[in-house]
Symmetry: C2
Subunit: 454 residues, 2 copies
């Protein structure tokens, strides 16, 4: 028996080694293709500089649908199609203004309305300010909040190594702050921007009134971290200073928009679907090159790489450019709704929505069997400085996908600079490094290849 | 026997686990200190924005010596001292100019003299251009080079994952180009900037005439990657176009400058010295925040972290801010010369001279015994996303150090963006991310701690 076991082991080891060598070669081709022959940077140039910001329901979002559809049609998919999605349409209106009125001194403040917020009255709101460290403090303050502007000032925690953890620990102030403060009769909320550094950019982002009656909606705005520091200091000296806020944003009727999808049928298992995607919409203050122009063009590049190296996926591959991640997530929900209606089986989904920075690894949502299998590929990624394979949140757009035993993953780029740009006026093309973007695309293609082949 | 072995193993494992837990705690403190209580970013702000570029022999370099000495004196060292170093002094003079003369069309080109180059004649040089792919091509061209401007245009190889490998494969054109082209009677050389991206910044850097006679020196300049692409294309259409170059740089007499050193005596082995350092000089086109202001302030921060967490090194620790890395390496050589004279024993040296980007690991020069020991600490760094522990070049300033069985290391930050800034006018403070800088400093302190303690 011993000999036979030994022989079997040898054959098996030989086979595994052979497979690994093959995979090594393919990964080399993938990275080479991306670093020398990719289109993702020029696609992003167009999306960012020729189209610009792409808030759901905007004319630019529609232009982005048309542009990416046309580009996908050049990549050799079996079909490129649109999925109808009704999306919310929120418009910022004329530029917001805000200032601190410290006795007779007026200090202008960089401010922006939060997405989904209502406008202030035409002449703005002028009121005293109460600074809080978070939503929990509201209850204790109770009646004192009445007629005041609530100032949420808990900063992102600098101790976390991963910046997304600091964001998660902070963003409730932005998302739920107005809804909660309104319950105590506050007139408006202003929130310290979700930004780890001190600068002058206000960062927008979604907020929600939840299910409170419309009559209780109050305006919600964000202001820069420098301004938050200044207001906090000034309040300590003069707790009765006044704050002025004016914004004229508006929620309109929902409008028709689209997910953009390219599909190539699997050569062996066409019934199994693998998705790679990012979201096509962005906030309105900049062209959203990091969030999520990068993810869009990287997902498109996965197909371009497969085309360039001549790899035909065994399972059906879909590049999905989701609409409305930022303020509704309707694209992701619609995609899953139609997948259910059509009785589709999704085996894998990968999202890139954490910026176009140097890739470090992936966050996985997976059962242990699949995750352990994925871990055996770690060594294949080491030459490309990809090391982090952990369990964690994959992506907002693929969150609704619920096929049985589906594996989901999110590309994990270096996170340190992400919140310097996130939802702010500086999230522009010049914040993107071409090589970092391409390395991210290659890393995604490498994982898609390994999932597909194994 | 079995029981005893088992027991011994248990005790040993227990001890190792205890040590690891202790180290885990200390690393936590180190990273926390750096991310919440560091001085490195404000030191760099001063070095970059209040002092500025610090070319060896310049007034600014002297200001940087005084400033960093004064700052080191606040950090609790046993002594802070200067080492005299005679350094070369090269001055750029009035801004260079260059243009392509394509028939009657004049196209201005962003250009800069290479460090150490001579000037052109007062009225500049106008000549035909021969494009080459590298020094090897010169010999075959021979006589054809006479009276021409040689244009070195081999780009950095985009296929490498680590940008420093692309730099190494390319920089001979800049460093030796003029010396080699002069042998064939060329009038001047222009080199494509060592930059992986296409932009309009010329990147300077050292060049050397080696031992050719002074009478054979020819002017050497670099120009932007965009300009190199343009010239190459234009040459294909009109091989007889002319290129005009004018520069007025000058090599002066050597002047006195300094290495700046802070030293704290080891509590257990004061005779063993550990060095952590970067280089204080920079090129003259910008404030050199990445090269190597970052390494300077990170090295200083190592001591600041130890002070903040109350760690007293067992071995003597020196923070060494080397002078003249860029165009002579005299500081590093002088440091080693004095170490030999004083019969000092250096057990470890760590340099940070690859930019202030997110740290990824270290490159080590070490024997296998020490390297294998270091590898056992890898898991301690994983929570901080530090994964790359490989053998490789440590740093130019510590290269001369030759103590027996010394271990040398170089901090290895993410390299993708480094050559966007290297030696160019955009290597400025705004290219630095505070958290990335601090994570680098913490990673250095963590390694210094482990080396010291073990």
């Amino acid at each position: 028996m011993r000999k036979i076991v030994f022989l079997t082991a040898l054959i098996f080891t030989g086979f595994t080694l052979f497979a690994q060598t093959n995979d090594e070669q393919t990964l080399k081709q993938i990275y080479k293709s991306s670093l020398t022959n990719s289109k993702c940077y020029s696609w992003l140039d167009y999306l960012s500089n020729s189209i610009g910001s792409r808030l759901s329901g905007s004319e630019n979002a529609q232009k982005a649908v048309q542009y990416t559809k046309a580009q996908l049609e050049t990549l050799g998919f079996d079909r490129v199609f649109l999925q109808d999605v009704m999306v919310p349409k929120w418009v910022r209106g004329v530029k917001e203004s805000a200032y601190i009125l410290d006795n007779k001194i007026k200090i202008n403040i960089p401010v922006c309305a939060l997405g989904g917020s209502i406008a202030t009255p035409k002449n703005g709101i002028t009121a005293e300010v109460i600074e809080v460290n978070g939503i929990k403090e509201l209850e204790a303050l109770g009646e004192k909040l009445k007629g005041k502007i609530v100032f949420f000032n808990r900063p992102m925690d600098p101790e976390n190594i991963e910046a997304f953890n600091s964001y998660s620990g902070c963003v409730d102030q932005r998302y739920n702050g107005a809804k909660e403060a309104s319950k105590y009769g506050a007139l408006a909320t202003i929130v310290r921007s979700m930004n780890l550094r001190l600068d002058d950019f206000p960062h927008t982002g979604a907020q929600s009134y939840g299910d409170i009656p419309k009559s209780q909606y109050i305006p919600a705005a964000a202001f820069s971290t420098n301004a938050a520091e200044l207001l906090s200091k000034t309040l300590k000296v003069n707790p009765h200073l006044k704050f002025y806020l004016k914004q004229s944003c508006q929620q309109m009727e929902d409008v028709l928009s689209y997910n953009v999808i390219g599909e190539i049928k699997g050569t062996e298992h066409p019934e199994n679907i693998m998705v790679v995607g990012g979201h096509l919409d962005s906030w309105d203050l900049a062209d959203g090159s990091q969030d999520d122009g990068a993810g869009v063009v990287q997902s498109m590049e996965v197909m371009n790489i497969f085309k360039n190296i001549g790899y035909k996926p065994k399972n059906t591959l879909r590049v999905v450019l989701f609409m409305n991640e930022e303020n509704g997530g309707r694209g992701g929900k619609k995609y899953e709704e139609l997948a259910k209606t059509n009785n589709e089986t999704h085996i894998f989904a990968l999202e890139s929505d954490s910026g176009g920075f140097s890739p470090r690894g992936f966050d996985f949502e997976s059962d242990d069997v699949n995750f352990n299998k994925i871990l055996t590929w770690k060594n294949l990624f080491e030459p490309y400085l990809i090391h982090s394979f952990v369990k964690g949140h994959s992506g907002s757009d693929i969150e609704p996908l619920t096929s049985k035993s589906i594996v989901k993953a999110g590309l994990k780029p270096d996170s340190q600079r992400y919140f310097d740009y996130h939802h702010a006026a500086n999230d522009k093309f010049d914040a993107i490094n071409k090589r970092e973007l391409e390395l991210g695309a290659a890393t995604m293609a490498a994982l898609m290849y390994l999932i597909d082949k194994n």
